[in-house]
Amino acid sequence: MRVWFPASLLFLVAALLTGVLVGPVHLGVVNVIHASFAHVFGLRSPLTGADDAILWQLRLPRVILGAIVGGTLAAAGAAYQGVFRNPLADPYLLGAAAGAGLGATMVAAYAPASSLRGDLLPIAAFVGAAVAVIAAYALGRSAGAAAGPTALILAGVTIASFFTALQTFVQQQNVDTVQEVYSWLLGRLSTSGWHEVGIIVPYATAAWLIILGHRRLLDVLSVGEEEAAALGVNVARVRLLVVAAATIATAAAVAVSGLIAFVGIIVPHTIRLLAGGSYRHLLPLSVIVGAGFLVLADVIARTVMSPAELPIGVVTAFFGAPFFAVVLRTTRARV
């Protein structure tokens, strides 16, 4: 057990370094580390002006954004799997993806083309995701507490289909926007400096703190609602807090990076298979490994067809799925 924390941190550091080093312009390991610290502490960077801008304005914000989004999606996925006791739960389970898609489509279709439109899209995606999850939660709760998590999941499916139908309708009315919406939906980590990082940091930090704070209670929930209640836990409150935190963070991630599939399922499950199922280890490890995983996926997304970029969601699924299959096979005896 003890070995997994240092190992995952090492993986994250290696991923971050790979992320800032790989690119058309060679910067050098020592320079990159030196220059990064120089910026953080307000010192003079050893890199020339152009190289320094490539590092500080292009690569570093993108790598940091990837790490935050990856860590957030993985932790949110693990948290959803915990509160719903459903191994297939992912951060988009309660309709966040469909809501964000609808929000983004509405902006692409109806907002006047102006410089503001670029800023409006993430906000609409965030609001759409939040509205969808709140609607699903309200619908699920109306079925009564006794219906439990299954009612919530069904409500999420209902809301997601409804929002997707609306989105498709709007898109059909405005066929010219399909390209814009589609490329956004597939997810990307292109940044304009530190702006996107600034957007997601407060949400991600709050969500990580709340989700990690509940790591022991998620272990208690693993014995089922009834037994958890008999152990004195207010199951509904735990679920509401964890789902709220995971949803807000997911909505923020979707707003800055579009829909990146698979991270929320594959990272927590890989950790479960390797390091065990206790949420005390699973949640912090998910943040660390999810961060590294998405940074590496982004490196692949922007190098494989360089100078063109692959949507990062394609990369996470294409490389993630076989990797997961290998993990599943090699640990078969223990599952």
């Binding site: 693993s222 014995v223 008999a230 152990l231 004195g232 199922g277 206790s278």
Partner: protein, 259 residues
């Protein structure tokens, strides 16, 4: 003082009255078994005592109305061992037993030294120390049952609710588990309320039996008073003989009449 007092306890589930004006008391240190045919309301009565279903009437735990107790405080007085516990397969036995300390922890807090001591004591009392590091899904049915009992013990509650504690066990494991419960009752001064299918075992281990039928209490008393051919025939619809076996109590034997 009664450890547990039910006063006109009624539970309605999906429009059907499953437990109907049940009044009974369990004295401190006593073992009372709820018996009755399938659907008599035994399990629902236990769940009501544990605060897991809403009920009418009153449940008092050491004189306190459970509806006025916070969930956490109720869990410090009453520990429930369900008939089919949910087993989180990947969890170690030790981590599982430690879950029993949940009622003593603050919302986001984690276990302290005293909680680990309590979990270790529970593991030791149920001979689970060699299993502490094993995953639950590698245990046999009997070992899992002991792990769930250990979790309930770690809860340090004076009242233990057991729902069919021997349901999935062979005759040897049944005896073993019931002997353990009886020993714990003595050593820890626990009060036990359990549902039991096996009438002979119920008579052997419980101080008193409560016979439920369609939610209502129809007989209460010692094995001799409750395990009678007339009562069992009437409420179970079963053909039985009851044999008074010296040293073994009252043995309920199903009888097959030649047709």
């Amino acid at each position: 003082m009664s450890a547990l007092a039910l006063d006109g306890l009624s539970v309605t589930l999906g429009g059907a009255r499953v437990v109907d004006r049940l009044s009974a008391a369990v004295e401190d240190g006593e073992w009372v078994a709820l018996i009755g045919p399938n659907g008599a309301g035994k399990t629902t009565a236990l769940r009501a005592v544990a605060g897991l279903v809403s009920h009418e009437g009153c449940v008092r735990v050491f004189e306190e109305d459970t509806r006025r107790l916070a969930r956490k405080h109720l869990a410090r007085s009453v520990a429930l061992v369900p008939q089919v516990p949910v087993i989180p397969g990947g969890m170690t036995v030790r981590a599982y037993v430690l879950l029993g300390r949940t009622p003593y922890l603050s919302y986001l807090g984690s276990e302290r030294h005293s909680d680990h001591v309590a979990a270790d004591a529970a593991l030791e009392q149920l001979d689970l120390v060699p299993f502490a590091g094993r995953r639950l899904d590698t245990l046999s049915g009997g070992e899992r049952q002991r792990a769930t009992l250990a979790r309930a013990l770690a809860q340090d509650a004076p009242i233990l609710l057991l729902d069919e504690p021997t349901a999935a066990l062979d005759v040897g494991r049944q005896q073993q588990v019931l002997e353990i419960v009886d020993a714990l009752r003595t050593s820890r001064g626990l009060t036990v309320l359990s549902t039991m299918h096996d009438l002979t075992l119920a008579g052997q281990y419980a101080d008193r039996l409560l016979l439920l039928d369609r939610g209502q209490l129809v007989a209460a008393g010692s094995a001799e008073q409750v395990l009678t051919r007339a009562l069992i025939t009437e409420h179970y619809g079963a053909e039985v003989d009851v044999v008074d076996a010296p040293g073994s109590g009252f043995v309920v034997v199903p009888v097959r009449r030649p047709s």
